[in-house]
């Protein structure tokens, strides 16, 4: 696989947090190539740096060192606002606690990232995506009027509606019961398959990991294992 085909290309990626006096090395030199359209599960014990790696790869956090190219863009050279612009339309993110905007309806929540990128048909696409995740009848509901499973469906719709090249999901079933979690996993992978996006999912759930073509295990800030199905 060549770099030009890679959705994500990381070389010696490091992340150090904390003060200068007491720095904490979170990522200690990550080398990683993820191909376009690949589905990857990221496993590892708590504190191994999974969420931090996802934050760096999705542009929520700048790496302290190393090289990082995501969707053809050099993330290492970008400032906060450039990273924000890079996320728009290219990267979708699903978080464990859903993190929907409480003042917006389901439809508005899904439309927001597209509207931020200035897309004029954002509402129509958001409506279509919500119908695709089975929430066509909940368009005008506010997050607090939705169940946990429904909120996570809205979050998935929000991440996918703009047809991003990359989808990141951090413990997407962590706040849900087993049955609902199963539905959400099915939905997430079905929607990804339809769009052909690259998916990186952080999980402790072996069933979820089994859905992925590749499983990475993180330990002590480094990639410990890299297994392909």
């Amino acid at each position: 696989m060549t770099t030009s085909q890679a959705a994500i290309s990381a070389r010696n990626l490091t992340l150090t947090l904390g003060s200068d006096a007491a720095p904490v090395e979170i990522l200690r030199g990550i080398d990683l190539e993820i191909a376009q359209g690949e589905t990857v599960a990221l496993l590892g014990p708590s504190g191994s740096g999974k969420s931090s790696l996802m934050a760096v790869l999705s542009g929520l956090e700048r790496a302290s060192g190393g090289k990082l190219t995501v969707a053809g863009q050099d993330f290492a050279a970008m400032d906060e606002d450039a990273l924000a612009h890079a996320r728009r339309g290219h990267i979708g993110i699903v978080l464990q606690a859903f993190h929907l905007l409480p003042t917006m309806t389901a439809l508005e929540n899904v439309a927001t990232p597209m509207e931020l990128s200035g897309e004029t048909d954002a509402q129509e696409r958001a409506r279509a995506e919500l119908e695709a995740v089975g929430l066509g009848h909940r368009l005008d509901h506010y997050p607090q009027q939705l169940s946990g499973g429904e909120q996570q469906r809205v979050a998935i719709a929000r991440a996918i509606a703009s047809r991003p090249e990359l989808i990141f999901a951090d413990e997407p079933t962590g706040n849900l019961d087993a049955a609902t979690g199963h539905e959400i996993v099915e939905l997430l992978f079905a929607r990804r398959a339809e769009t052909g996006a690259t998916l990186l999912v952080i999980t402790h759930d072996p069933e979820l990991a089994e859905h992925c073509e590749r499983v990475l295990t993180l330990g002590d800030g480094r990639i410990a294992t890299d297994t392909r199905a």
Partner: protein
């Protein structure tokens, strides 16, 4: 099974543990209480210090237990005998005069005193001697007079036609405060000097002051009433020791009223801040409260823990405020030096301090109780719930708030000098709070009913205005009070400046000259022409008299029968300047009736000020009876005049036809306006040499004094109103900080979704710009109205705000709000999305 509740000791242990870590969260509560209690403590201490000073030194300030002032005459033998039955009597005179040494001349306040002076206190000279009146041929000079004349003890000076030796310089004049506004430095001489020096002659402008030191302990007010009853038409102007310095008294009263309002305003604003501060403090503790509940704490335990924390912060803020208030008083006393009888030392007045503390605690109770009682109901499951779910109101809060408010109102009414004023203000503040609450509701409803913008940033900004748990209500109240305080400050300050400009005119005569003998007016004119051929001058007959009776010819009211002088009818009080003229005086316009012609010889007529006519209910054709030098003079009202009081010249409420007063012994008063660059010293010297009994007043010096007094009033107002503005700012900051906490979540999510910093800032600006624009109009109305009340009703000045300045200051206020809003967002914008996400 019921479980015993947590003990207070345990609650305090937990409260203290939490407080150590999170005391910063209560900063707004601390600042608001500090400002509110500090303002009240300072105001109370200052007022108490003044009262104490007046009470303990009132007799010394007045120079006796009671004083009778009269113009152009002393007491008759009979009147003096009547006064002597109450105790030791001391008499003397006060007048404007000129003192000369060779080529130097200076206008002075001549104070002639008898052997009994001073009845109270000590007259101390700069060499340390405690003295009585100077011996004949000697004088005690205020240092200002000695400086002006360039003399020292042992030198001689000329007063009128008499040469006197400087016997010493005055270090402490015990009755200085009671003497009131002076046009020159004091020179104290023996009682007979004015007569020997030719300064007292029929028609001369002088004032006699006769004081008595009571032998027993009669009530001075009763004695004053007895004397007025016995001599109703004598024209006595009687002061008693409780009102030792009438000018100071009036000023203190007005300042006191103003300061009370400022204190109450600071209190109300502080209350809003306390409410906001406690709400956001407890909101930030939701998770902690939920965790405590999971661990077994009951609602009552929660209430105890947080009540203890808030009480600790309340006491800390209140005590710090009290200390600051006490420390502020010497600074205020220094700023108002000469206006207030307060020494610049530290004063600890327990009463006002306790009152300030009581207000602080009650306000904290009223505004902190609702969020505190609500917090008891944070469910243990709050850890799992959506963060915006609002809690139901707690009915118990109504009881606490109602009780606390009743206590505040009772305290305000019971301790106020003017309960109506304080009550009215509190009612006004309550109405304003209600209106702002309605406005907040209106904005929320309007924002909710507007079509939702397609732009997510504008949509979220609009949603922030009406979302459940939105801080619109708190922001509207804080912005309303905060911006109103800005407008009030600008309106009051610029109106005071306007009054200074108006009352201290740029165009004014250079000199007033009193007691020009009327048969020597041509000499007077010749001297001025010699000094400056281009000079303008004017002379008018000058005498003083009191209105003894007024009204329709057959139903006249005796002034002495009035229980109270009607508002605006101040010329009925005491003796007033009288003049006569053939022509309508310069700067006056006849607005009703007819002016008598030249060489009028019919029934004596009088023309009066139209405002006085209205205030006293007088009509054209009514009669006025004047008491002039012990003789009654009657005149019929022929016309009303509008007087341009701003022209710094001779303005008389009463102008009579010449035949009404020409037979009364009197002198002339004159104004002189020199052309630019004319040297003044030769004219002054020539005038004093030719008219030794006349006195010359330099208008520049008078204007300077008037300006200083008005500027001191302005400074005091600024200092006091700044407290309200500071409290307003603190509340604004607190409200914006609280709102920021509520926005954090949205901001972080929006950033994760790709919003950049400019978009987030735009969102904040849209929200605050909508609120600020709505509140700017409210603030302009509320601030201007309150300013109008302060200026016209309390200070009795003219309403002359500079609207340019007011709007500019309001603009600054709005800019401050937007700057705060942006400033509050910066930490969030600087944080990396991943960091912010972890902190959610």
């Amino acid at each position: 099974m019921t479980r015993p509740g947590m003990s207070w000791a345990t609650a305090w242990r937990i409260a203290r543990r939490d407080l150590h870590a999170r005391f910063r969260g209560l900063r707004l509560l601390l600042v608001c209480l500090f400002l509110g209690t500090g303002a009240l403590a300072a105001i109370g201490t200052l007022t108490s210090a003044i009262e104490r000073e007046l009470e303990s030194n009132g007799r010394q300030f007045l120079g006796g237990d009671l004083q009778i002032e009269l113009w152009q005459r002393g007491l008759t033998a009979e009147e003096r005998t009547a006064l002597e039955q109450y105790g030791v009597v001391s008499s003397g005179t006060r007048m404007q005069a000129m003192a000369r040494v060779d080529a130097k001349a200076a206008p002075i306040e001549l104070k002639a005193v008898d052997a009994a002076y001073p009845l109270y206190g000590d007259l101390v000279l700069s060499d340390g001697r405690t003295v009585g009146p100077p011996a004949q041929g000697e004088a005690w000079l205020a240092p200002g007079a000695a400086d002006r004349l360039g003399v020292a003890p042992g030198d001689t000076i000329l007063i009128g036609t008499e040469t006197v030796r400087v016997g010493g310089l005055i270090a402490d004049e015990p009755d200085r405060l009671g003497e009131g506004f002076q046009l020159g430095p004091t020179i104290i001489v023996d009682e007979d000097l004015p007569r020997r020096a030719g300064l007292i002659a029929p028609g001369s402008m002088y004032q006699s002051k006769t004081r008595v030191r009571f032998a027993g302990t009669p009530d001075p007010a009763d004695v004053a009433d007895e004397l007025k009853d016995r001599y109703p038409d004598a024209g006595f102007d009687i002061d008693t020791a409780e009102r030792a310095a009438p000018g100071t008294d009036r000023f203190v009263d007005r300042m006191g009223e103003f300061l009370t309002l400022v204190g109450l305003a600071a209190l109300v604003i502080a209350g809003i801040g306390i409410g906001g501060g406690v709400t956001s403090y407890l909101d930030a503790r939701r998770q902690g409260i939920a965790t405590l509940k999971i661990l077994g704490a009951t609602s009552r335990d929660i209430a105890r823990i947080y009540a203890l924390q808030i009480t600790a912060a309340t006491l800390a803020g209140s005590f710090a405020g009290m200390a600051a208030g006490v420390a502020l008083v010497p600074l205020l006393a220094r700023a108002l030096d000469g206006l207030l009888p307060v020494s610049a030392g530290l004063v600890i007045a327990p009463g006002p301090l306790l009152l300030a503390l009581a207000y602080g605690l009650l306000v904290a109770l009223v505004f902190a109780a609702p969020p505190l009682l609500r917090a008891r109901h944070y469910p243990a499951m709050a850890l799992m719930r959506a963060r915006v779910a609002p809690l139901a109101r707690d009915r118990a809060a109504l009881v606490v708030v109602g009780g606390g408010l009743s206590a505040i109102v009772a305290l305000a009414l019971l301790t106020a000098e003017q309960p109506m004023l304080s009550g009215g203000f509190l009612a006004g503040a309550a109405v304003l709070l209600g209106l702002l609450a309605l406005l907040g509701l209106g904005i929320r409803n309007l924002a909710a009913s507007l079509p939702r913008p397609r732009n997510p940033i504008a949509r979220n900004a609009l949603a922030n205005l009406h979302r459940p748990g939105s801080s619109t209500g708190a922001l509207v109240t804080a912005l309303g009070f905060g911006l109103s305080a800005f407008v009030l400050l600008a309106a009051v300050q610029s109106a005071i400046d306007g009054n200074i400009e108006k009352r201290v005119p740029a165009q004014a005569p250079d000199y007033f000259v009193l007691d020009i003998p009327r048969d020597r007016v041509t000499d007077f004119e010749a001297i001025i022409r010699d000094a400056d051929p281009q000079a303008n001058w004017r002379t008018v007959p000058a005498m003083r008299g009191s209105v003894l009776a007024f009204g329709p010819q057959n139903a006249m009211t005796r002034t002495s029968d009035l229980e109270e002088i009607p508002d605006g009818a101040w010329p009925l009080r005491g003796e007033r300047g009288l003049t006569y003229a053939d022509q309508v005086p310069e700067g006056n316009t006849v607005t009703k009736g007819q002016w008598w012609g030249p060489a009028y010889a019919g029934e004596p007529l009088v023309s009066i000020d139209e405002e006085f006519a209205e205030a006293a209910g007088l009509e054209i054709g009514d009669m006025l009876t004047f008491g002039v030098l012990g003789v009654e003079k009657e005149a019929r009202i022929a016309s009303y005049r509008r007087i341009d009081w701003e022209s710094m010249g001779f303005n008389y409420v009463f102008v009579l036809s010449p035949n009404a007063l020409a037979d009364v012994p009197h002198n002339l008063a004159g104004t002189i306006e020199l052309s630019d660059g004319t040297p003044t010293a030769p004219l002054l010297q020539a005038l004093v040499g030719a008219f030794p009994s006349a006195s010359v007043i330099e208008v520049g010096g008078v204007l300077g004094q008037a300006r200083i007094i008005l500027e001191q009033v302005g400074l005091a107002t600024l200092a006091a109103a700044s407290v309200a503005v500071l409290a307003g700012l603190a509340v604004l900051l607190g409200a914006i900080a609280a709102a920021r906490a509520a926005r954090t979540y949205d901001t972080v999510v929006l950033r994760v979704l790709g919003a950049d910093r400019r978009q987030i800032l735009t969102m904040q600006l849209i929200e605050y710009a909508v609120l600020a624009a709505a509140l700017a109009i409210v603030a302009l109305a509320v601030g201007s109205f309150t300013g109008w009340l302060v200026i016209t009703q309390l200070f009795e000045f003219d309403w002359l705000p500079d609207w340019g300045v007011v709007l500019a200051v309001l603009g600054i206020g709005l800019a401050v709000v937007l700057a705060f809003a942006i400033g509050a967002s910066l930490p969030l914008l600087r944080a990396k999305p991943a960091q912010a996400l972890r902190a959610l």
